[in-house]
Symmetry: C3
Subunit: 435 residues, 3 copies
């Protein structure tokens, strides 16, 4: 039997489960296509009944084309002594993602044209991609780079770039209405934990929880390759897009930083108001930032032709921390308590979204007599101690069809929960109806 | 002959008259129905030609029913020696308002279930009511409470609760138009001065003054029992409610606190803008607070089915001072100068309301030549010393049918009076007409 | 061949030319009519092909009448020794502008009724006019005034006030569209440099520069007598007024003070937003002030019957500096660098006005693929270093027909120029069209 009670774990038990999922996904070499992505989705199927979709290479999706599928078995650089000085098996970031196959011997000068390192962070391996231009390359620590001798090297990348398909995962939880909430995570990055195994993991556990509840909205969870994945989904599902009333992109939700919410392009969508309200009420440190057309898949959802009410929920935003897109975004960079805290704020926001409705008073002229309905204290004359009674008065006063419960909570400066409970009490006594 | 000049007394002569009226009304035991309320209205009839209305017990008024009429002759508690230790004749707050009759002997434990005192203010008697639940009780100082012995007491309340009527007073001053300004005071409290003999007294003197003036608006003064009175009036006069364009509830206007104006539910009604402007211009300390659905009869006037432009004008708001609803809200707590100051601010606001109109320039293209109409200095070249001329220019510039005189005063940062006089001069020279 | 490149002089070469023009115009005795005004316009014709218009005395222009033409040859006051103690030839401010002719001998007491001096600035001669009341008078330094002996004086003003015409200059630069930008300068003041030879000079050089450019808007430059000139122009050209979409009154643009922009009566017109943006971006000290119906010809352009989007661009506003309307507003009070700086800000604003358009994305659903159009870097994964790319993304995202380029610049906090260049690149690749 479905219920609306939301059970939250103590001692970060849920956070530890999320972290465990991240740990399991961490070693896999994902890309925007290929078997690493498929393997990732299959693991998620152990948690939620995800459907796995394949869109063939060459499919036209708006201005884009689904690319060839990339797979990789192995890669290394050997020095003239035949020693593997760079080994894909040790860290899949070592290979520029989408590198074409190569096997040749080259000198240091030529090799350097294909190497990427971070002089400011000499122990970290950067993450680089070359999706839309055929090339190959290796990423390495700057220490490794500096240690290179002027000798001949053997470079080897056993990859393939062939017609195949783009893979994504989709989980649809039907609710009372066909109106949808979209939760979208880019899932194409290889061994990078905060960006975005954290988003994937929080989304999986949100989906698990929501599937246990009686829901007003339908929920659509997407685990897609960044950019090309959302473009592909939007193209393939254009007739459904108008059902999406609210949405969140989840990314970078496992680090120790404060919460960051990037508003939808609309800037004043319900989801924007609700997330801001939840973060404000949380008492935690947070920042609300305006939409800008850079970042993750909110760029596509908020393109002017769709302009969906989709914001981006983060802790430290992409690009704001030095570990971003390097090997330092590892299993030490994300922690169970931050994952669980992110999950908790999202769930609270979704709970308000579920409960935030517009009502009309059935007794709009003067206040109704609360006492005869058991909604009022008996002895008059005391001052304002009865807060729930005040919530009832607020709901009655603002139940004019122009205020949502969240509007009432904000205007009254009372907790959403108190307003919600007051509305429930008034519905139960036939003093209110939904618009 | 009626004039528009408003004479204000010096030396608080008017304030002293208001205080005198309060002193006369103070001893009467009022309630939401009954003879105390009638006696109060008869005294007000010495000042203004109030009509006294009676609405029978049992009349259905929206969700409410006019209650039985309550009257009381005497009440006391005697100790076992037959000494009156609590005496209604000494202070009518001693009896819980609307107590049913009782006469019996009871022990201390049983008695205590019917007693109300204030441990934090051991010398004050609280004010308590039980309008909608049949019960009885006594209020006493906490010192009296603590002095009670474990003995047998005789409790006696000679009250009656019988079919009768709800009484209220209404004074209608007709103006040029049928559009009405409502001034409403709850008048049901027994010996409590600030809440609300102060509101009654200021309203009476405002009514007296306004009746001497040539008025644009019609004015309706209501002296009603709180809550049930405004509900009854609204129900009995529903067809007239749409005439009410502006209104004020007057309460707690005699204490030493700063002014407080609680805006109407609309929040940006003319009356809200005008009162805020008057208080700002007064140079006195004040606070503007948003509407909330608690307080006095503005709760009913601003219920969503009416949503009238009625604010609440106060000094210290109900509940914000410890004397509120206790015997300490007595003749020492209100002072003539504060009463007169409240009267003055209200009168200034009503004067602006009367004068605040929307005009259209009859010479909208370029400025008219003021000089040939005697509205301009002769020698050009000096800098902006001619302030009244500037007021004329402001009125001409903003007389586009979209700005009231108050809008002009605010935008120009000039005194309303200067703008008003400029408009009068322009009307006199046919450069302006009312919209 | 016309181009859109705007060349700005270094070393204030342009400012020096503007100053040179001011120096040439300074000695001429101008008034709201007469030969001084005509001579001024003829000098301007050396710079721009100004058309000189004459409107006959007696022409009714709205509430006003074109006055008699005033001309003056000479004027002086001689003492009893026959010495010229006040000489119009030395300073044309000595005669009250529009003085009727006079030649008589009078005593000191009678003379003083016709004298104007400034006790606070004893070395300065004030500027006074008497356009609409027939009288005569002299202005002198307060030192001169105090030195006057009790003797007989010969006063002589060889002026004439006869039917003639009101003269103004107009220069129309046609652009691609009939929509007009109005640049208006009052040009009626005699030897006063900041007010308003500075405005005249900056306008002349702006006109010269604009006439070299390929323009979207048509530009109308007016050199008119204050008040009566703008009233006359509006009356004579009422059918053209609706073409005026933007405008600036230029005055007091040569002094050392910070920039001051007085907004149009509308307050949020495009010209208001653009000038504020330009001044903000300039990094210089500036102040934005709201419209008020006092000042110069913006009073007429912004009268409610026209309500044109015309602001007033100044450095130190009229009346805010002691030299205003005195002989101290001389050639020392204005400087080439300030003139050129004013010119520069105006030109930048007009350039944005020219370029600020509204576009629609031709690829509104999801982002277009920039890479295949040469608008994107090849190797992904780096953080936000590519600022121009960000400008491209902003333009694409906001090209929904509801945002101008300036809106985009403000929302993105990017320079207008970067946004403009991005839009040009997108137009060139057929990703954008103008609304």
């Amino acid at each position: 039997m479905k219920t609306n009670s939301l059970s939250i774990s103590s001692n970060n038990a849920l956070g530890k489960q999320m972290y465990q999922l991240i740990s399991q996904l961490y070693p896999i070499c994902r890309s925007i296509t290929g078997n690493g992505f498929r393997e990732t989705l299959r693991i998620l199927q152990n948690y939620i009944p995800l459907e796995i979709r394949e869109v063939p290479t060459g499919t036209e999706v708006y201005d884009w084309t689904v690319p060839q599928e990339w797979n990789i078995n192995d890669a290394y650089i050997k020095n003239s002594q035949g020693e593997k000085i760079i080994d894909f098996q040790a860290c899949n970031l070592h290979v520029v993602n989408y590198s074409v196959p190569v096997h040749q011997k080259i000198g240091l000068d030529e090799l350097k044209k294909h190497l990427f390192s971070l002089p400011d962070y000499p122990d970290w391996v950067p993450y680089r991609t070359s999706y839309y231009k055929e090339s190959w390359g290796f990423c390495l620590t700057h220490k490794q780079y500096l240690a290179l001798q002027d000798e001949e090297y053997e470079v080897y990348i056993d990859s393939s770039l062939k017609p195949g398909s783009l893979t994504y995962g989709e989980y649809f939880i039907p609710g009372e209405t066909s109106q949808e909430v979209l939760i979208s995570c880019h899932s194409c990055h290889p061994s990078l934990c905060n960006d975005n195994l954290s988003g994937i993991s929080v989304a999986v556990f949100l989906a698990q929880q929501l599937s246990q509840l009686s829901l007003r909205y339908s929920y659509r969870f997407l685990f897609i390759p960044g950019t090309i994945g959302s473009i592909t989904w939007l193209h393939e599902n254009e007739q459904r897009v108008s059902n999406i009333k609210h949405g969140l992109v989840l990314t970078c939700v496992g680090d120790a930083g404060k919460f960051t919410y990037k508003k939808s392009r609309r800037g004043n969508a319900d989801i924007d108001k609700i997330v801001e309200y939840v973060l404000e009420e949380s008492g935690k440190d947070y920042e609300i930032i305006d939409f800008f057309p850079y970042g993750y898949d909110e760029r596509q959802y908020c393109s002017p032709g769709f302009n969906l009410a989709v914001g981006c929920f983060m802790r430290s935003p992409h690009g704001s921390f030095p570990e971003y897109h390097t090997s330092a975004d590892n299993l030490d960079f994300v922690r169970p308590q931050y994952l669980e805290d992110s999950y908790q704020q999202c769930l609270t926001a979704l709970q308000i979204l579920e409960r935030d409705r517009t009502y009309i008073s059935l007794n709009p002229k003067c206040e109704p007599r609360l006492g005869k309905r058991g909604l009022y204290r008996a002895i008059g004359g005391q001052s304002e101690e009865a807060l729930n009674e005040l919530a009832i008065l607020w709901v009655l006063n603002l139940a004019d069809g122009e205020h949502t419960l969240l509007d009432m909570a904000k205007r009254s400066k009372m907790a959403f929960d108190a307003i919600y409970k007051a509305a429930q009490a008034l519905l139960a006594t036939d003093l209110l109806k939904e618009l």
